[in-house]
Symmetry: C2
Subunit: 401 residues, 2 copies
């Protein structure tokens, strides 16, 4: 069985090593568990790998939704070419990072007028999600937009498909020419397109097909309407291997195919800045969630390791967010990292609900009260995507190191 703990972690004095220090060091530094540690060097290495694989002319954006920790967003602002936001709150964070407003994209199906006003005032690029939103933007004084399209294809094999079907996201591609025409009537310039066909795809073939289809769709819209595109955001959807036997995305294959596509771009797209927007793929594997063992018990023959963490910080790892079948994220005893397994236990959180499972039938070394448990793949959709207030426990601490 392929071990699925992500690369970049070490063993230090018998403990899990994160960014050159033992796990217990970071807990001491943060003051207590539960704790998320995000390793900046691993994120930087991932960004470098993406840049090396993709054609040099492709701009790399970070989607804040994956992890909006302010310190992380500020640092990311210096690492990538743009930021993508999904709310007024994320917009404020992105602006605070120092990123140029023109390199910030704002998507989301339910933007309120106050969010649109803030975006227009800041000069960021709003991805228009519907004909009705275009009217509101124009009425509020917006003069430049991108159109988010709901494509006629989907990102195959993705964890969450967002194209090829009826959707609250974007404008059906068939309706796009009419919206472009209406924008002209309203005095609103359409300078970009945005497509997000799905997320968490591990198949390079699926990502390649989706990117190629997006380029064809954009070229057709340009040909049909004469719209001049300054930017074309191809979305992201690059997946990470959460589960045993998942294989990592073949990034080189994606990059080679995109290079080939860009080399044969139709004339109407040759001056267009091509953007790839990644969230989870940049940060997901660089984060570890550390919780402390509070109790160890046997019930009806099953060993339970009870921690002070739980689904209030790591909803996705508990299997309760966007998944039907619960599977374990990579998990280990961080206090005895790499030690031989001598027991099998269910690792649970401290919440008084049977939903709070962090790992089922986990092979562990001898695990005692006080040990640290590490759950990997915790850099994305962790602290910010979990019901932090549920049952009144303290929020998780977060360190960017």
């Amino acid at each position: 069985m392929r071990s699925h703990i992500p690369a970049g972690f070490t063993t230090i004095d018998g403990e899990l090593g994160i960014a050159g220090r033992a796990a217990s060091y970071w807990v001491h530094e943060a003051g207590d568990t539960p704790l998320f540690v995000y390793d900046r060097a691993l994120i930087a290495a991932r960004i470098a790998a993406v840049r090396a694989a993709l054609p040099s002319e492709v701009a790399l954006h970070y989607a804040l939704k994956a992890n909006p920790l302010p310190a992380l967003v500020e640092w990311m602002g210096g690492q990538v070419d743009g930021l993508d936001v999904a709310s007024g709150g994320e917009l404020a964070l992105a602006l605070a990072s120092g990123m140029q407003p023109r390199d910030i994209g704002f998507a989301g199906p339910g933007k309120r007028d106050d969010e649109l006003r803030a975006a227009i005032a800041a000069g960021v690029l709003i991805n228009v999600e519907s004909a009705g939103e275009l009217e509101r933007i124009a009425a509020l004084g917006g003069r430049v937009v991108a159109l988010r399209l709901n494509p006629s294809f989907e990102l195959k094999g993705s964890g969450m498909r967002m194209g090829g079907r009826a959707s609250p996201f974007g404008i059906d591609v068939a309706d796009a020419p009419a919206v472009v025409a209406r924008a002209a009537e309203l005095g609103v310039r359409v300078t970009g397109l945005h497509v997000y066909a799905g997320s968490q795809a591990l198949s390079a073939a699926a990502v390649i097909e989706s990117q190629a289809a997006t380029l064809v769709m954009a070229a057709e819209l340009v040909a049909a309407t004469g719209v001049q595109l300054e930017t074309l955001n191809l979305g992201g959807g690059f997946g990470i291997p959460y589960f045993t036997n998942d294989l990592p995305l073949d990034l080189a294959a994606v990059g080679e195919a995109l290079s080939a596509s860009l080399a044969t771009l139709p004339a109407g797209l040759r001056d267009t800045r091509i953007i790839v927007e990644l969230g989870r793929y940049l940060v997901g594997e660089a984060g570890v969630y550390l919780a402390r063992v509070v109790d160890r018990k046997v019930s009806r023959g099953t060993e339970f390791i009870v921690t002070d963490g739980g689904l209030h910080h790591q909803l996705a790892a508990s299997g309760n967010f966007g998944t039907v079948i619960r599977r374990n994220y990579p998990i280990a005893n961080a206090s005895h990292f790499g030690a031989d397994a001598v027991m099998t236990a269910d690792v649970v959180g401290c919440l008084c609900t049977p939903l709070d499972r962090l790992g089922e039938r986990v092979a562990l070394p001898d695990t005692q009260v006080g040990d640290l448990i590490a759950i990997f793949m915790a850099g994305a959709y962790g602290a910010s995507a979990s019901p932090a207030a549920f049952l009144g426990h303290p929020p998780a601490r977060e360190l960017l190191v």
Copy 2:
């Protein structure tokens, strides 16, 4: 098809009426949407109904986990006989309500030492979840406890079964005599038992069977160990009818059966205070979540109503928390309440994720941008049990009226 909007709501000037005022009044009062409104009178009526149905000697506790809004907890402190908490945070809220510490119970599988210390200092009743936890409590100076038992039966037909299987909750009933003996050695007095066999059961027969089995189990433990029980917490598990065709729990039947059981209690339990602990059943149907329509659009023939609310406030209603098959909570246009349906739409939240569905194929009157959408059954496991920070939108407002 049975309409499943809960009782107690009216129509005022064509709008949904909550506690004698139109929905728009409460939104104006709160300042904005999204908004939870909890109707105190409906909660009081539910408490009165429970008290009327249950034998008068049964004590009624409120479990804060269902809704820990401080104003609600404070008010509840004056309505019920005790409070049950699941964390140090909930403990602080319960104590602030003025409830006597001896009438506060503290359960939870992963209590940290600092939580145990606070509970011991306050004099609340700790429900011991394991042999190891008993040792920690004794070491920290605890001298009186209740034992939480993992029963050999489960609450049948419940949304979440918590008994009859290996569990992180409570002490296996077979191990209880040994734990009672160990408590005596440690100088810790066992004065209570606590059992929670499941939750969200709509079948009176299942609740009756579970309560009866709990009484038998307690009597057996008393007979076997000679422990003198001051309190026996039978748990709760009373469900509410979230979905079309759900039938409400037959409360009268539950009360009659419990009366019969209490009339024939074995001698060892005749001086024991019997507690029923309810959360969702007291508050769930008394709350409404109000969100405003931000956009209306058609995609590939499907009508979408996009609101400023979403799963960041109402995770359970989106079908992403503890459910495998998504079904609609009762939902309506609160601005045209009771008006004839003329359209069918998917109602979604504002989050940039396909998980954010609030109602699928909902029959609605003509619904426009600016209208208020009401999602009922929002009094329990709403604001506090949802990922409020996800995607950076503002938290929901909450009003107890």
